[in-house]
């Protein structure tokens, strides 16, 4: 990765390159993101998300570069490094970080007084936008978790940031408070032009808020791009497991069929046909089958385009309360599949533990077992 000869990003782009070691953890990452909207930095715990934000804020120093549009915050090529208080950055920490010795108003004024630039966002506007009016005279200790995070966001905004960094701002909150704060983020997203970098390990959150996505794991970047594009591709990756229920099956390549561009895979329950895989016959592969790609039938369907019809037995049916859906776990002889069906279908077919069914698998993703 070249630090020295990189072209300057487009006027509103954010360009970050960091490499270095912290204890036994190594971060090596480079990404360039749009200078507006919300970019999510997504990855499992311990993958380096927070470190990236700390480096951008200047709270931590690793070798690299950090360009925010026309502003240079760090450029090791020129030996340039701005101290954190010389960067127009807003930082909302994971847990409430309000100054306990100041009231809500005091916390907000602390930021406003030190902003150093003519305010684009006024005190009253921020208080209004985040609904802080009734909280102003309260002490941080007297606020709920959600209220504290709202104040922390308001305080960061009043420092008139060029870039807003949000480090898992919902992780310390209960479900109700999360929902409330998310809706405030949606307001900010709509009304402000400040770019935001939003760290999260929750794909549902990312899918809801972000325009752009940087996926990281183990201190490196896996993918980045517009959120829709990346979410599709995430289905290929185990980091998405929390987002899409499914199962993983281990199988071996039994044969290739070059004529139809197919491969036959053998697993304990039988043979599965998939589009041609790049693996030798006999090699182990790992399949990922998402619950929403599995349908169930109580009789073997005939004249159907779906190739993978696997006989099995229902192990368990779990209905999801307050939704249209139920999930059935089906034993296909040595392996299990999850099927996401409607509760109505489960009732019509009379599915219960022990029912003989045929699992119809619409689509399969796979990766080499060796990669795990």
């Amino acid at each position: 990765m070249s630090v020295r000869h990189a072209p300057r990003p487009a006027p509103d782009e954010i360009d970050a390159v960091f490499a270095g070691t912290l204890g036994s953890f190594r971060l090596d990452i480079a990404f360039r993101i749009p200078g507006s909207g919300i970019t999510a930095v997504f990855g499992p715990s311990g993958s380096g998300k927070t470190t990236i934000l700390r480096c951008i804020a200047g709270l931590q120093r690793l070798a690299g570069r950090c360009l925010i549009g026309s502003e240079t915050w760090q450029d090791d090529g020129n030996g340039m490094f701005r101290e954190p208080h010389e960067r127009r950055v807003g930082y909302v920490f994971q847990e409430a970080s309000l100054f306990p010795h100041l009231s809500v108003r005091g916390n907000l004024r602390y930021a406003a007084r030190r902003a150093g630039v003519a305010p684009v966002l006024g005190f009253a506007a921020v208080v209004e936008m985040l609904g802080l009016g009734l909280l102003l005279e309260r002490a941080p200790a007297a606020l709920s978790g959600g209220e504290r995070q709202r104040v922390a966001v308001g305080r960061a905004l009043l420092s008139q940031p060029r870039l807003l960094l949000l480090d898992e701002p919902l992780s310390a909150l209960d479900q109700g408070a999360r929902e409330e704060i998310i809706s405030y983020f949606e307001v900010l997203h709509r009304e402000l032009s400040i770019p935001m970098l939003y760290v999260s390990h929750d794909l549902a959150e990312v899918a809801r808020l972000a325009d752009h996505l940087v996926v990281i794991a183990g201190g490196g970047k896996l993918a980045d791009g517009p959120v829709g594009e990346i979410l599709e591709r995430l289905d290929l990756h185990p980091t998405a497991e929390r987002f899409e229920a499914g199962v993983v099956l281990d199988a071996r390549v039994a044969a290739h069929d070059p004529r139809y561009h197919l491969s036959r895979l053998r697993h304990h329950g039988g043979v599965i046909t998939v589009p041609l895989v790049e693996a030798e016959v006999g090699e182990a592969v790992r399949l990922r089958i998402r619950a929403r790609d599995v349908a169930l039938a109580t009789r073997r369907p005939r004249a159907i385009s779906i190739r993978n019809v696997l006989p099995g037995t229902v192990v368990e049916v779990s209905e999801q309360p307050n939704s249209a859906y139920a999930e059935a776990l089906v034993d296909i002889g040595g392996g299990r599949l999850r099927a996401r069906i409607t509760r109505e279908a489960a009732a019509d077919l009379g599915l219960r533990t022990g029912t003989r069914v045929y699992a119809l698998v619409k689509s399969i993703s796979f990766e080499h077992a060796a990669r795990h």
């Binding site: 200047g58 208080h85 010389e86 930082y91 920490f93 970080s97 030190r114 941080p140 420092s159």
Partner: protein, 225 residues
């Protein structure tokens, strides 16, 4: 109350007040450095600051006597102001008391700075507060319980010192005869009534200080978020 009681009381209060102010001014940067610096020798420095906790006061007083005397740096300093020595002077007592009471001020302030943690400083830095600004707007207010404990302990400890004072200050009425020395003097000269009054007063004072400290500690627990 006998007129002989007042000079040592006033002198003691004066000595303890001056000493406490100097201790806060000198001890705070030391406590800050000990709390925040990653320097690997800092525990050695902390040990030097803490020496008076372990050393017999007479040993500390002996070294101070040499340092403050005509052939030590104290004597050289006194020479600048037309004196010969800092030993047996009020200034000498203040210097001795500062050394002696230093750990009682530095330790609580250091603990308080450490209890603040990094987070508030990171927050302040991202809100454009310079390091100096962060110290005054975040560190000092958040470490306030430590400052209060340090000041009370430093003051009380200075009031109670005896060995060091006797070694470097002697027993000169209205100049170096402080409370603890006066009690000793009254007992030696069999003035039991005066000795009782001073000793009883000290007992009450010590009780009130310790009680105040306990109450402050309980308040400061609530202070933490």
């Amino acid at each position: 109350m006998s007129a002989a009681l007042w000079p040592p009381i006033l002198l003691t209060l004066q000595l303890a007040s001056v000493t406490t102010v100097i201790l806060l001014a000198v001890g705070t940067p030391i406590a800050w450095w000990l709390a925040r610096s990653p320097h690997r020798w800092k525990e050695a420095v902390a040990a030097v600051v803490a020496l008076p906790l372990v050393l017999p006061p007479t040993v500390l007083g002996f070294y101070l006597l040499i340092a403050l005397g005509p052939s030590g740096p104290g004597g050289w300093l006194a020479g600048l102001f037309g004196g010969r020595s800092l030993a047996f002077t009020f200034t000498g007592l203040v210097i001795g008391s500062v050394c002696y009471s230093m750990p009682f001020v530095v330790q609580p302030i250091r603990d308080a700075f450490e209890a603040v943690g990094d987070r508030p400083f990171d927050v302040a830095a991202t809100l454009r507060a310079s390091p100096w600004d962060r110290f005054w707007s975040v560190a000092v207010p958040l470490a306030r319980p430590g400052f209060v404990s340090g000041a009370v302990l430093g003051f009380a400890h200075t009031v109670g010192e005896f060995g060091v004072v006797l070694m470097i200050g002697g027993n000169i009425p209205s100049r170096t005869r402080v409370l603890s020395v006066a009690v000793y003097e009254f007992v030696e000269t069999l003035q039991w009534r005066e000795a009782h009054l001073l000793a009883g007063g000290m007992l009450l004072f010590a009780f009130l200080v310790i009680l105040a400290m306990r109450l402050l500690e309980r308040r400061s627990v609530r202070w933490r978020p």
